[in-house]
Protein backbone atom coordinates (compact mmCIF):
# COMPACT_ATOMS: atom_id res chain seq x y z
CA UNK A 1 0.00 0.00 0.00
CA UNK A 2 1.21 3.48 -0.82
CA UNK A 3 1.24 5.90 2.05
CA UNK A 4 -0.49 9.16 1.29
CA UNK A 5 1.91 11.97 0.44
CA UNK A 6 0.44 14.77 2.53
CA UNK A 7 1.05 13.35 6.05
CA UNK A 8 4.61 12.44 4.99
CA UNK A 9 5.20 16.02 3.87
CA UNK A 10 3.77 17.24 7.16
CA UNK A 11 6.08 14.97 9.10
CA UNK A 12 9.09 16.14 7.10
CA UNK A 13 8.11 19.77 7.70
CA UNK A 14 7.78 19.11 11.44
CA UNK A 15 11.27 17.57 11.54
CA UNK A 16 12.74 20.49 9.63
CA UNK A 17 11.08 22.94 12.02
CA UNK A 18 12.41 21.00 14.99
CA UNK A 19 15.94 20.90 13.59
CA UNK A 20 15.80 24.62 12.77
CA UNK A 21 14.61 25.45 16.30
CA UNK A 22 17.39 23.41 17.88
CA UNK A 23 19.98 25.07 15.64
CA UNK A 24 18.53 28.50 16.36
CA UNK A 25 18.71 27.88 20.13
CA UNK A 26 22.12 26.26 20.15
CA UNK A 27 23.97 28.39 17.57
CA UNK A 28 24.64 31.40 19.85
CA UNK A 29 26.06 29.11 22.53
CA UNK A 30 28.28 27.33 20.03
CA UNK A 31 29.48 30.66 18.61
CA UNK A 32 30.25 31.97 22.11
CA UNK A 33 32.27 28.90 23.01
CA UNK A 34 34.02 29.07 19.62
CA UNK A 35 34.91 32.75 19.95
CA UNK A 36 36.30 32.17 23.45
CA UNK A 37 38.71 29.59 22.07
CA UNK A 38 39.84 31.70 19.11
CA UNK A 39 43.28 33.38 19.26
CA UNK A 40 41.91 36.38 17.35
CA UNK A 41 41.50 39.61 19.41
CA UNK A 42 38.18 40.44 17.70
CA UNK A 43 35.00 38.39 17.90
CA UNK A 44 35.74 35.69 15.38
CA UNK A 45 35.32 31.94 15.19
CA UNK A 46 38.64 30.06 15.47
CA UNK A 47 40.33 29.33 12.18
CA UNK A 48 42.75 26.47 12.59
CA UNK A 49 44.40 26.55 16.00
CA UNK A 50 42.70 27.10 19.36
CA UNK A 51 43.91 29.25 22.22
CA UNK A 52 43.24 29.53 25.97
CA UNK A 53 44.58 33.09 26.12
CA UNK A 54 41.19 34.69 26.82
CA UNK A 55 40.62 32.32 29.72
CA UNK A 56 43.95 33.37 31.18
CA UNK A 57 42.75 36.97 31.01
CA UNK A 58 39.49 36.22 32.83
CA UNK A 59 41.31 36.20 36.15
CA UNK A 60 42.81 39.62 35.46
CA UNK A 61 39.52 41.31 34.52
CA UNK A 62 39.02 44.15 36.96
CA UNK A 63 35.86 43.84 39.05
CA UNK A 64 34.89 40.42 37.75
CA UNK A 65 35.43 38.44 40.94
CA UNK A 66 33.44 40.87 43.14
CA UNK A 67 30.64 40.82 40.56
CA UNK A 68 30.55 37.01 40.50
CA UNK A 69 30.59 36.85 44.29
CA UNK A 70 27.85 39.47 44.57
CA UNK A 71 25.67 37.64 42.05
CA UNK A 72 26.20 34.33 43.83
CA UNK A 73 25.43 35.89 47.20
CA UNK A 74 22.30 37.64 45.98
CA UNK A 75 21.07 34.53 44.17
CA UNK A 76 21.78 32.30 47.19
CA UNK A 77 20.05 34.63 49.64
CA UNK A 78 17.06 35.19 47.34
CA UNK A 79 16.70 31.44 46.74
CA UNK A 80 16.92 30.58 50.44
CA UNK A 81 14.42 33.28 51.40
CA UNK A 82 12.08 32.29 48.57
CA UNK A 83 12.17 28.62 49.51
CA UNK A 84 11.01 29.43 53.05
CA UNK A 85 8.46 32.10 52.09
CA UNK A 86 7.31 30.19 49.02
CA UNK A 87 6.76 26.98 50.96
CA UNK A 88 4.69 28.73 53.60
CA UNK A 89 2.70 30.65 50.98
CA UNK A 90 2.16 27.50 48.91
CA UNK A 91 0.90 25.58 51.97
CA UNK A 92 -1.53 28.42 52.70
CA UNK A 93 -2.73 28.50 49.11
CA UNK A 94 -3.14 24.73 48.76
CA UNK A 95 -4.46 23.93 52.24
CA UNK A 96 -6.16 27.17 53.26
CA UNK A 97 -9.89 27.73 53.15
CA UNK A 98 -9.85 31.51 52.88
CA UNK A 99 -11.33 33.43 49.94
CA UNK A 100 -9.00 34.72 47.23
CA UNK A 101 -6.50 31.86 47.43
CA UNK A 102 -6.35 31.51 43.66
CA UNK A 103 -5.86 35.24 43.25
CA UNK A 104 -2.98 35.25 45.75
CA UNK A 105 -1.31 32.30 44.03
CA UNK A 106 -1.58 34.02 40.64
CA UNK A 107 -0.34 37.30 42.11
CA UNK A 108 2.74 35.65 43.61
CA UNK A 109 3.60 34.07 40.27
CA UNK A 110 2.82 37.26 38.29
CA UNK A 111 6.40 38.68 38.27
CA UNK A 112 7.12 35.93 35.73
CA UNK A 113 4.67 37.57 33.35
CA UNK A 114 5.62 41.20 33.91
CA UNK A 115 8.47 42.81 31.96
CA UNK A 116 11.55 43.03 34.17
CA UNK A 117 11.94 46.69 33.27
CA UNK A 118 8.55 47.50 34.77
CA UNK A 119 9.34 45.63 37.97
CA UNK A 120 12.81 47.21 38.20
CA UNK A 121 11.53 50.73 37.73
CA UNK A 122 8.64 50.17 40.14
CA UNK A 123 11.01 48.72 42.76
CA UNK A 124 13.39 51.65 42.40
CA UNK A 125 10.63 54.20 42.96
CA UNK A 126 9.14 52.21 45.80
CA UNK A 127 12.45 51.76 47.62
CA UNK A 128 13.26 55.46 47.16
CA UNK A 129 9.84 56.37 48.54
CA UNK A 130 10.55 54.18 51.56
CA UNK A 131 13.93 55.85 51.95
CA UNK A 132 15.88 52.72 51.06
CA UNK A 133 18.90 53.91 49.07
CA UNK A 134 21.38 51.13 49.85
CA UNK A 135 22.13 49.02 46.81
CA UNK A 136 22.66 45.67 48.55
CA UNK A 137 19.38 45.39 50.53
CA UNK A 138 17.51 46.70 47.49
CA UNK A 139 19.06 44.02 45.32
CA UNK A 140 18.37 41.28 47.87
CA UNK A 141 14.72 42.28 48.23
CA UNK A 142 14.20 42.64 44.50
CA UNK A 143 15.76 39.27 43.79
CA UNK A 144 13.40 37.57 46.24
CA UNK A 145 10.65 38.86 43.93
CA UNK A 146 12.52 37.30 40.99
CA UNK A 147 12.98 33.89 42.59
CA UNK A 148 9.69 33.56 44.48
CA UNK A 149 7.49 32.87 41.41
CA UNK A 150 9.64 29.90 40.38
CA UNK A 151 9.46 28.41 43.86
CA UNK A 152 5.73 29.14 44.20
CA UNK A 153 4.90 27.60 40.84
CA UNK A 154 6.64 24.29 41.46
CA UNK A 155 5.62 24.05 45.12
CA UNK A 156 1.94 24.76 44.52
CA UNK A 157 2.00 22.04 41.87
CA UNK A 158 3.91 19.69 44.18
CA UNK A 159 1.76 20.38 47.23
CA UNK A 160 -1.45 19.93 45.26
CA UNK A 161 -0.39 16.30 44.78
CA UNK A 162 0.99 15.91 48.31
CA UNK A 163 -1.04 13.68 50.61
CA UNK A 164 -1.26 15.51 53.93
CA UNK A 165 -2.34 12.26 55.57
CA UNK A 166 1.39 11.44 55.45
CA UNK A 167 1.95 14.11 58.08
CA UNK A 168 -0.88 12.71 60.21
CA UNK A 169 0.70 9.28 59.84
CA UNK A 170 4.12 10.56 60.93
CA UNK A 171 2.50 12.26 63.93
CA UNK A 172 0.74 9.10 65.08
CA UNK A 173 4.09 7.32 64.73
CA UNK A 174 5.73 9.66 67.21
CA UNK A 175 6.88 12.84 65.44
CA UNK A 176 5.75 16.31 66.51
CA UNK A 177 4.15 18.41 63.78
CA UNK A 178 7.29 20.40 62.87
CA UNK A 179 9.42 17.26 62.81
CA UNK A 180 6.79 15.46 60.71
CA UNK A 181 6.94 18.28 58.15
CA UNK A 182 10.73 18.10 58.11
CA UNK A 183 11.02 14.33 57.95
CA UNK A 184 8.14 13.62 55.56
CA UNK A 185 7.00 16.65 53.60
CA UNK A 186 10.47 17.99 52.79
CA UNK A 187 11.89 14.71 51.41
CA UNK A 188 8.70 13.87 49.51
CA UNK A 189 8.63 17.33 47.96
CA UNK A 190 12.41 17.45 47.41
CA UNK A 191 11.98 17.43 43.60
CA UNK A 192 9.81 20.54 43.81
CA UNK A 193 12.26 22.29 46.11
CA UNK A 194 15.23 21.43 43.91
CA UNK A 195 13.48 22.36 40.67
CA UNK A 196 12.05 25.63 41.93
CA UNK A 197 15.28 26.49 43.70
CA UNK A 198 17.53 25.79 40.71
CA UNK A 199 15.46 27.69 38.18
CA UNK A 200 14.99 30.53 40.64
CA UNK A 201 18.71 30.64 41.37
CA UNK A 202 19.56 30.80 37.66
CA UNK A 203 16.90 33.47 37.05
CA UNK A 204 18.41 35.61 39.80
CA UNK A 205 21.97 34.93 38.69
CA UNK A 206 21.47 36.22 35.15
CA UNK A 207 18.89 38.91 35.85
CA UNK A 208 19.68 42.18 34.13
CA UNK A 209 16.57 44.34 33.70
CA UNK A 210 15.64 44.51 37.38
CA UNK A 211 19.18 44.68 38.78
CA UNK A 212 20.16 47.56 36.50
CA UNK A 213 17.87 49.93 38.42
CA UNK A 214 19.19 48.95 41.83
CA UNK A 215 22.95 48.59 41.46
CA UNK A 216 25.52 51.29 42.16
CA UNK A 217 29.22 51.64 41.39
CA UNK A 218 30.20 49.39 44.28
CA UNK A 219 27.53 46.76 43.77
CA UNK A 220 27.45 45.43 40.24
CA UNK A 221 25.99 42.03 39.55
CA UNK A 222 27.68 39.84 36.97
CA UNK A 223 25.36 40.52 34.00
CA UNK A 224 25.75 44.27 34.50
CA UNK A 225 29.51 43.99 34.84
CA UNK A 226 29.68 41.89 31.66
CA UNK A 227 27.71 44.42 29.67
CA UNK A 228 30.02 47.15 30.90
CA UNK A 229 33.08 45.18 29.72
CA UNK A 230 31.42 44.82 26.38
CA UNK A 231 31.06 48.59 26.16
CA UNK A 232 34.57 49.37 27.39
CA UNK A 233 36.83 46.76 25.80
CA UNK A 234 34.99 44.30 23.60
CA UNK A 235 37.39 41.37 23.38
CA UNK A 236 36.78 37.60 23.58
CA UNK A 237 37.41 37.58 27.36
CA UNK A 238 33.66 38.17 27.64
CA UNK A 239 33.09 35.06 25.54
CA UNK A 240 35.37 33.14 27.89
CA UNK A 241 33.36 34.31 30.93
CA UNK A 242 30.13 33.40 29.12
CA UNK A 243 31.50 29.95 28.34
CA UNK A 244 32.32 29.44 32.01
CA UNK A 245 28.74 30.41 32.91
CA UNK A 246 27.41 27.96 30.31
CA UNK A 247 29.59 25.25 31.86
CA UNK A 248 28.30 26.13 35.34
CA UNK A 249 24.71 25.96 34.08
CA UNK A 250 25.32 22.58 32.47
CA UNK A 251 26.78 21.35 35.75
CA UNK A 252 23.72 22.58 37.67
CA UNK A 253 21.37 20.94 35.14
CA UNK A 254 23.39 17.73 35.35
CA UNK A 255 23.09 17.68 39.15
CA UNK A 256 19.39 18.44 38.83
CA UNK A 257 18.99 15.59 36.36
CA UNK A 258 20.76 13.18 38.72
CA UNK A 259 18.63 14.25 41.67
CA UNK A 260 15.24 14.81 40.08
CA UNK A 261 15.28 14.00 36.38
CA UNK A 262 15.32 16.63 33.66
CA UNK A 263 11.88 15.80 32.34
CA UNK A 264 10.36 16.39 35.77
CA UNK A 265 12.26 19.66 36.13
CA UNK A 266 11.04 20.91 32.78
CA UNK A 267 7.55 19.56 33.26
CA UNK A 268 6.58 21.36 36.44
Amino acid sequence: MRRPLLPLLGLALAWIMLAASVIFLLAPLVVTVGVSLSPSPVFQLPQGELSWRWYARVGRLEGLLPAVLLSLQVAAFATAASLVLGTLAAIAVVRGQFPGREAIATFLVSPLMLPGLVIGLAMLQYFRALGLREALPSLLLAHVIIVLPYVMRTLVAGLALFDFALIDAARTLGLSYPRAVLRVMVPVLAPSFITGGLFGFLASFDNYPISIFLTDVYHRTLPIQLLQYLGESPDPTIAAVSTLIIALTLLVLFIGDRMVGLSRMAGV
Binding site: A165, D168, T172, G174, V188, A190
Partner: protein
Protein backbone atom coordinates in the same frame (compact mmCIF):
# COMPACT_ATOMS: atom_id res chain seq x y z
CA UNK B 1 -12.49 -4.89 85.21
CA UNK B 2 -12.22 -1.34 83.95
CA UNK B 3 -12.43 -0.48 80.31
CA UNK B 4 -9.19 -0.30 78.35
CA UNK B 5 -10.48 2.66 76.37
CA UNK B 6 -13.09 4.91 77.86
CA UNK B 7 -14.78 7.70 75.92
CA UNK B 8 -17.01 9.98 78.02
CA UNK B 9 -19.33 12.66 76.67
CA UNK B 10 -17.23 13.58 73.67
CA UNK B 11 -18.66 16.35 71.48
CA UNK B 12 -17.33 18.06 68.40
CA UNK B 13 -18.80 20.82 66.30
CA UNK B 14 -17.62 22.18 62.98
CA UNK B 15 -19.13 25.62 62.47
CA UNK B 16 -22.89 25.09 62.72
CA UNK B 17 -23.02 21.32 62.50
CA UNK B 18 -22.64 18.95 65.43
CA UNK B 19 -20.47 16.07 64.28
CA UNK B 20 -20.23 14.25 67.61
CA UNK B 21 -23.00 14.68 70.12
CA UNK B 22 -22.12 13.79 73.73
CA UNK B 23 -20.84 10.37 72.75
CA UNK B 24 -19.75 7.77 75.29
CA UNK B 25 -18.23 4.37 74.63
CA UNK B 26 -16.14 1.80 76.48
CA UNK B 27 -13.88 -0.73 74.82
CA UNK B 28 -12.35 -3.70 76.61
CA UNK B 29 -8.75 -4.90 76.39
CA UNK B 30 -8.25 -6.96 73.24
CA UNK B 31 -11.67 -6.12 71.91
CA UNK B 32 -12.35 -5.50 68.22
CA UNK B 33 -15.02 -2.82 67.97
CA UNK B 34 -16.41 -1.43 64.74
CA UNK B 35 -17.80 2.04 64.26
CA UNK B 36 -20.35 1.53 61.53
CA UNK B 37 -22.31 4.27 59.87
CA UNK B 38 -22.95 6.27 56.72
CA UNK B 39 -20.50 8.95 55.65
CA UNK B 40 -20.89 12.04 57.79
CA UNK B 41 -22.06 10.13 60.87
CA UNK B 42 -18.97 11.23 62.81
CA UNK B 43 -17.08 7.95 62.88
CA UNK B 44 -13.93 9.33 61.24
CA UNK B 45 -14.06 12.42 63.46
CA UNK B 46 -14.16 10.18 66.54
CA UNK B 47 -11.20 8.23 65.17
CA UNK B 48 -9.17 11.41 64.66
CA UNK B 49 -10.00 12.54 68.19
CA UNK B 50 -8.77 9.21 69.57
CA UNK B 51 -5.58 9.52 67.51
CA UNK B 52 -4.99 13.04 68.84
CA UNK B 53 -5.20 14.59 65.38
CA UNK B 54 -8.29 16.55 66.39
CA UNK B 55 -9.28 18.06 69.75
CA UNK B 56 -12.81 17.44 71.04
CA UNK B 57 -14.89 20.42 72.21
CA UNK B 58 -15.96 18.50 75.29
CA UNK B 59 -15.56 15.14 76.95
CA UNK B 60 -12.65 13.01 78.01
CA UNK B 61 -10.83 9.98 76.70
CA UNK B 62 -8.88 7.55 78.89
CA UNK B 63 -6.64 4.83 77.51
CA UNK B 64 -5.18 2.15 79.80
CA UNK B 65 -5.95 4.35 82.81
CA UNK B 66 -4.22 7.41 81.35
CA UNK B 67 -6.22 10.54 80.58
CA UNK B 68 -5.30 11.42 77.00
CA UNK B 69 -6.61 14.95 77.53
CA UNK B 70 -4.70 17.36 75.34
CA UNK B 71 -1.88 14.87 74.77
CA UNK B 72 -0.70 15.48 71.19
CA UNK B 73 -0.79 12.67 68.63
CA UNK B 74 2.92 11.91 68.85
CA UNK B 75 2.81 11.31 72.62
CA UNK B 76 -0.11 8.88 72.50
CA UNK B 77 0.62 5.26 71.98
CA UNK B 78 -2.09 4.86 69.37
CA UNK B 79 -1.46 3.25 65.99
CA UNK B 80 -3.47 4.28 62.96
CA UNK B 81 -4.00 2.53 59.63
CA UNK B 82 -5.22 5.22 57.25
CA UNK B 83 -7.80 4.76 54.56
CA UNK B 84 -5.35 5.24 51.67
CA UNK B 85 -2.56 3.79 53.87
CA UNK B 86 -0.54 7.06 53.84
CA UNK B 87 2.69 5.14 53.31
CA UNK B 88 5.82 7.26 52.93
CA UNK B 89 6.69 7.15 49.21
CA UNK B 90 10.31 8.19 49.79
CA UNK B 91 11.04 5.19 52.02
CA UNK B 92 11.24 1.47 51.36
CA UNK B 93 8.92 -1.11 52.90
CA UNK B 94 11.36 -1.61 55.78
CA UNK B 95 11.81 2.16 56.12
CA UNK B 96 8.06 2.58 56.51
CA UNK B 97 7.68 -0.20 59.05
CA UNK B 98 10.61 1.11 61.12
CA UNK B 99 9.49 4.76 60.96
CA UNK B 100 7.79 4.84 64.36
CA UNK B 101 10.73 3.14 66.04
CA UNK B 102 13.20 5.61 64.55
CA UNK B 103 10.96 8.48 65.64
CA UNK B 104 11.15 7.09 69.18
CA UNK B 105 14.92 6.86 68.99
CA UNK B 106 15.16 3.08 69.27
CA UNK B 107 18.62 1.62 68.62
CA UNK B 108 19.33 0.58 65.05
CA UNK B 109 19.86 -3.13 65.79
CA UNK B 110 16.58 -3.31 67.69
CA UNK B 111 14.75 -1.54 64.85
CA UNK B 112 16.10 -4.05 62.34
CA UNK B 113 15.05 -6.99 64.48
CA UNK B 114 11.57 -5.60 65.09
CA UNK B 115 11.06 -4.69 61.41
CA UNK B 116 11.95 -8.18 60.22
CA UNK B 117 9.73 -9.68 62.90
CA UNK B 118 6.78 -7.62 61.65
CA UNK B 119 7.48 -8.19 57.97
CA UNK B 120 7.57 -11.90 58.77
CA UNK B 121 4.22 -11.55 60.54
CA UNK B 122 2.53 -9.90 57.54
CA UNK B 123 4.40 -12.19 55.10
CA UNK B 124 6.32 -9.40 53.36
CA UNK B 125 9.86 -10.30 54.43
CA UNK B 126 11.12 -10.77 50.84
CA UNK B 127 9.90 -7.27 49.90
CA UNK B 128 11.71 -5.36 52.67
CA UNK B 129 13.83 -3.37 50.22
CA UNK B 130 11.06 -2.57 47.75
CA UNK B 131 9.76 0.90 47.01
CA UNK B 132 6.18 1.53 48.11
CA UNK B 133 5.07 2.27 44.55
CA UNK B 134 6.10 -1.24 43.50
CA UNK B 135 3.58 -2.88 45.83
CA UNK B 136 0.06 -4.08 45.09
CA UNK B 137 -2.89 -2.72 47.06
CA UNK B 138 -3.01 -5.72 49.38
CA UNK B 139 0.73 -5.51 50.05
CA UNK B 140 0.46 -1.80 50.81
CA UNK B 141 -2.33 -2.57 53.26
CA UNK B 142 -0.10 -5.08 55.04
CA UNK B 143 2.78 -2.59 55.20
CA UNK B 144 0.42 -0.05 56.76
CA UNK B 145 -0.63 -2.64 59.37
CA UNK B 146 2.97 -3.57 60.13
CA UNK B 147 3.97 0.09 60.44
CA UNK B 148 1.16 0.82 62.89
CA UNK B 149 1.86 -2.31 64.96
CA UNK B 150 5.66 -1.88 65.04
CA UNK B 151 5.61 0.48 68.01
CA UNK B 152 3.38 -1.92 69.94
CA UNK B 153 0.53 0.57 70.45
CA UNK B 154 -1.99 0.34 73.27
CA UNK B 155 -4.77 0.79 70.72
CA UNK B 156 -4.95 0.49 66.96
CA UNK B 157 -7.36 2.54 64.86
CA UNK B 158 -8.31 1.31 61.42
CA UNK B 159 -9.93 3.83 59.08
CA UNK B 160 -11.69 1.82 56.36
CA UNK B 161 -8.42 0.01 55.72
CA UNK B 162 -9.89 -2.44 53.22
CA UNK B 163 -12.15 -0.15 51.20
CA UNK B 164 -9.58 0.42 48.45
CA UNK B 165 -9.25 -3.30 47.70
CA UNK B 166 -11.38 -5.30 45.31
CA UNK B 167 -14.01 -7.58 46.75
CA UNK B 168 -12.19 -10.91 46.64
CA UNK B 169 -8.96 -9.55 48.09
CA UNK B 170 -10.94 -7.67 50.72
CA UNK B 171 -12.47 -10.87 52.03
CA UNK B 172 -9.06 -12.55 52.26
CA UNK B 173 -7.58 -9.53 54.02
CA UNK B 174 -10.49 -9.42 56.50
CA UNK B 175 -9.67 -12.91 57.70
CA UNK B 176 -5.94 -12.14 57.82
CA UNK B 177 -6.37 -8.87 59.67
CA UNK B 178 -8.71 -10.36 62.26
CA UNK B 179 -6.37 -13.29 62.90
CA UNK B 180 -3.33 -11.02 63.25
CA UNK B 181 -5.00 -8.67 65.74
CA UNK B 182 -6.41 -11.55 67.77
CA UNK B 183 -3.00 -13.22 67.88
CA UNK B 184 -1.50 -10.00 69.27
CA UNK B 185 -4.41 -9.40 71.65
CA UNK B 186 -4.59 -5.89 70.19
CA UNK B 187 -7.46 -3.58 71.07
CA UNK B 188 -8.81 -2.27 67.78
CA UNK B 189 -11.34 0.26 66.60
CA UNK B 190 -12.39 -0.29 63.04
CA UNK B 191 -14.19 2.43 61.12
CA UNK B 192 -16.29 1.28 58.20
CA UNK B 193 -19.43 2.00 56.25
CA UNK B 194 -19.52 -1.59 55.02
CA UNK B 195 -22.01 -3.47 57.18
CA UNK B 196 -20.89 -6.90 55.94
CA UNK B 197 -17.32 -6.12 56.94
CA UNK B 198 -18.42 -4.95 60.38
CA UNK B 199 -20.58 -8.04 60.91
CA UNK B 200 -17.77 -10.35 59.81
CA UNK B 201 -14.96 -8.87 61.92
CA UNK B 202 -16.29 -7.33 65.09
CA UNK B 203 -16.67 -8.43 68.67
CA UNK B 204 -19.08 -5.54 69.01
CA UNK B 205 -20.46 -2.95 66.62
CA UNK B 206 -21.40 0.63 67.40
CA UNK B 207 -23.82 1.78 64.74
CA UNK B 208 -23.48 5.55 64.46
CA UNK B 209 -25.86 8.11 63.06
CA UNK B 210 -25.65 11.91 63.22
CA UNK B 211 -22.91 11.97 65.84
CA UNK B 212 -24.53 9.50 68.21
CA UNK B 213 -24.39 5.77 68.79
CA UNK B 214 -27.72 4.26 67.75
CA UNK B 215 -26.89 0.81 69.02
CA UNK B 216 -23.89 -0.87 70.60
CA UNK B 217 -24.10 -4.65 70.53
CA UNK B 218 -22.67 -7.87 69.16
CA UNK B 219 -23.00 -8.44 65.39
CA UNK B 220 -25.64 -11.11 66.06
CA UNK B 221 -27.79 -8.73 68.11
CA UNK B 222 -27.27 -5.83 65.71
CA UNK B 223 -28.54 -7.98 62.88
CA UNK B 224 -31.37 -9.89 64.51
CA UNK B 225 -32.47 -7.28 67.07
CA UNK B 226 -31.81 -3.85 65.57
CA UNK B 227 -32.71 -1.27 68.20
CA UNK B 228 -33.96 1.42 65.84
CA UNK B 229 -35.34 1.66 62.29
CA UNK B 230 -32.02 3.30 61.33
CA UNK B 231 -30.01 0.26 62.40
CA UNK B 232 -32.57 -2.03 60.79
CA UNK B 233 -32.25 -0.18 57.53
CA UNK B 234 -28.47 0.32 57.59
CA UNK B 235 -27.57 -3.25 58.48
CA UNK B 236 -29.03 -5.92 56.23
CA UNK B 237 -32.24 -6.03 54.29
CA UNK B 238 -35.78 -6.61 55.49
CA UNK B 239 -39.44 -6.70 54.70
CA UNK B 240 -41.05 -3.45 55.87
CA UNK B 241 -44.75 -3.10 56.56
CA UNK B 242 -46.35 0.05 57.96
CA UNK B 243 -49.37 -0.62 60.08
CA UNK B 244 -51.61 0.20 63.02
CA UNK B 245 -51.99 -1.83 66.21
CA UNK B 246 -55.54 -3.22 66.23
CA UNK B 247 -55.18 -5.63 69.09
CA UNK B 248 -52.80 -5.66 72.06
CA UNK B 249 -53.04 -8.29 74.77
CA UNK B 250 -50.52 -10.00 77.06
CA UNK B 251 -47.53 -8.87 75.09
CA UNK B 252 -48.93 -9.97 71.75
CA UNK B 253 -49.94 -7.53 69.05
CA UNK B 254 -52.00 -7.77 65.95
CA UNK B 255 -51.22 -5.17 63.33
CA UNK B 256 -53.29 -4.08 60.43
CA UNK B 257 -51.07 -3.59 57.35
CA UNK B 258 -51.66 -3.12 53.65
CA UNK B 259 -50.64 -6.74 53.11
CA UNK B 260 -53.05 -8.07 55.71
CA UNK B 261 -53.01 -8.75 59.47
CA UNK B 262 -49.60 -9.45 60.99
CA UNK B 263 -48.89 -10.64 64.52
CA UNK B 264 -45.93 -9.63 66.66
CA UNK B 265 -44.54 -9.60 70.18
CA UNK B 266 -44.35 -6.22 71.90
CA UNK B 267 -46.04 -3.58 74.01
CA UNK B 268 -47.89 -0.87 72.14
CA UNK B 269 -51.21 0.83 72.71
CA UNK B 270 -54.09 0.05 70.42
CA UNK B 271 -54.23 2.50 67.56
CA UNK B 272 -50.49 3.16 67.65
CA UNK B 273 -48.82 3.58 64.28
CA UNK B 274 -45.92 1.15 63.90
CA UNK B 275 -43.42 -0.21 61.45
CA UNK B 276 -43.13 -4.01 61.28
CA UNK B 277 -40.01 -5.62 59.84
CA UNK B 278 -38.82 -9.16 59.13
CA UNK B 279 -35.38 -10.30 57.97
CA UNK B 280 -35.59 -12.11 54.60
CA UNK B 281 -34.14 -15.44 55.76
CA UNK B 282 -36.68 -15.66 58.60
CA UNK B 283 -39.48 -15.94 56.07
CA UNK B 284 -40.51 -19.21 54.45
CA UNK B 285 -43.08 -19.96 51.77
CA UNK B 286 -46.29 -21.51 53.06
CA UNK B 287 -49.33 -20.54 55.12
CA UNK B 288 -49.08 -19.81 58.86
CA UNK B 289 -50.03 -23.13 60.37
CA UNK B 290 -50.40 -22.40 64.08
CA UNK B 291 -50.30 -19.63 66.66
CA UNK B 292 -46.48 -19.49 66.70
CA UNK B 293 -46.51 -18.30 63.09
CA UNK B 294 -47.87 -15.31 61.28
CA UNK B 295 -47.98 -14.61 57.59
CA UNK B 296 -49.39 -12.80 54.60
CA UNK B 297 -50.12 -13.59 51.02
CA UNK B 298 -47.52 -11.78 49.00
CA UNK B 299 -48.25 -10.50 45.48
CA UNK B 300 -45.03 -11.26 43.58
CA UNK B 301 -43.29 -8.59 41.56
CA UNK B 302 -39.87 -9.99 40.67
CA UNK B 303 -37.23 -12.45 41.72
CA UNK B 304 -33.45 -12.25 41.68
CA UNK B 305 -31.19 -15.26 41.51
CA UNK B 306 -28.07 -14.76 43.66
CA UNK B 307 -26.33 -18.11 43.25
CA UNK B 308 -26.61 -19.45 46.77
CA UNK B 309 -30.16 -18.17 47.23
CA UNK B 310 -33.08 -16.59 45.46
CA UNK B 311 -34.69 -13.31 46.54
CA UNK B 312 -38.39 -12.72 45.95
CA UNK B 313 -39.68 -9.15 45.77
CA UNK B 314 -43.31 -8.42 46.61
CA UNK B 315 -45.56 -5.72 45.20
CA UNK B 316 -46.70 -3.54 48.06
CA UNK B 317 -47.86 0.09 48.52
CA UNK B 318 -45.22 2.83 48.51
CA UNK B 319 -43.11 2.84 51.68
CA UNK B 320 -43.59 -0.87 52.25
CA UNK B 321 -41.49 -3.59 50.74
CA UNK B 322 -41.22 -7.34 50.96
CA UNK B 323 -38.12 -9.49 50.57
CA UNK B 324 -38.18 -13.24 50.94
CA UNK B 325 -35.14 -15.45 50.77
CA UNK B 326 -35.64 -18.98 49.46
CA UNK B 327 -33.28 -21.76 48.38
CA UNK B 328 -32.08 -21.20 44.81
CA UNK B 329 -33.76 -24.33 43.41
CA UNK B 330 -37.22 -23.24 44.58
CA UNK B 331 -39.67 -23.05 41.68
CA UNK B 332 -41.99 -20.10 42.07
CA UNK B 333 -45.09 -19.90 39.93
CA UNK B 334 -48.22 -17.81 40.09
CA UNK B 335 -48.73 -14.16 41.00
CA UNK B 336 -49.04 -14.58 44.73
CA UNK B 337 -47.29 -16.60 47.37
CA UNK B 338 -48.36 -17.31 50.94
CA UNK B 339 -45.42 -16.62 53.26
CA UNK B 340 -44.94 -17.06 56.99
CA UNK B 341 -42.54 -16.35 59.81
CA UNK B 342 -42.43 -16.80 63.55
CA UNK B 343 -44.39 -14.23 65.50
CA UNK B 344 -41.27 -13.57 67.59
CA UNK B 345 -39.37 -12.68 64.41
CA UNK B 346 -41.58 -9.68 63.70
CA UNK B 347 -39.64 -6.55 64.70
CA UNK B 348 -41.87 -3.64 65.68
CA UNK B 349 -40.87 0.04 65.87
CA UNK B 350 -42.97 3.05 66.73
CA UNK B 351 -43.53 5.48 63.87
CA UNK B 352 -43.15 9.16 64.75
CA UNK B 353 -46.49 10.98 64.60
CA UNK B 354 -45.38 13.56 62.06
CA UNK B 355 -43.30 11.99 59.32
Amino acid sequence: MGAHLDIRGVSKRFRQSTVLDDLSLSVGQGEFLSLLGPSGCGKTTLLRILAGLLAPDAGRVTLAGQDLGRLPAHRRNVGVVFQNYALFPHLTVAGNVGFGLRARGVARAQIEARVSELLEMVRLAPLAGRAITQLSGGQQQRVAMARALAVNPALILLDEPLSALDRKLRETMQVELRALLRQLGMTAIFVTHDQEEALALSDRIAVMNAGRIEQLATPEDIYSRPATPFVLDFVGQSTLLHGVVVEAAEGFLTLHTAAGPVRAVGHFARGARVLAAVRPERIAPGPASDAAWTGITLPLQAQTFLGSRRLLHGRLPAGDRALVEVPPETEISGDALPIRWRVSDTLVYPVPEVA
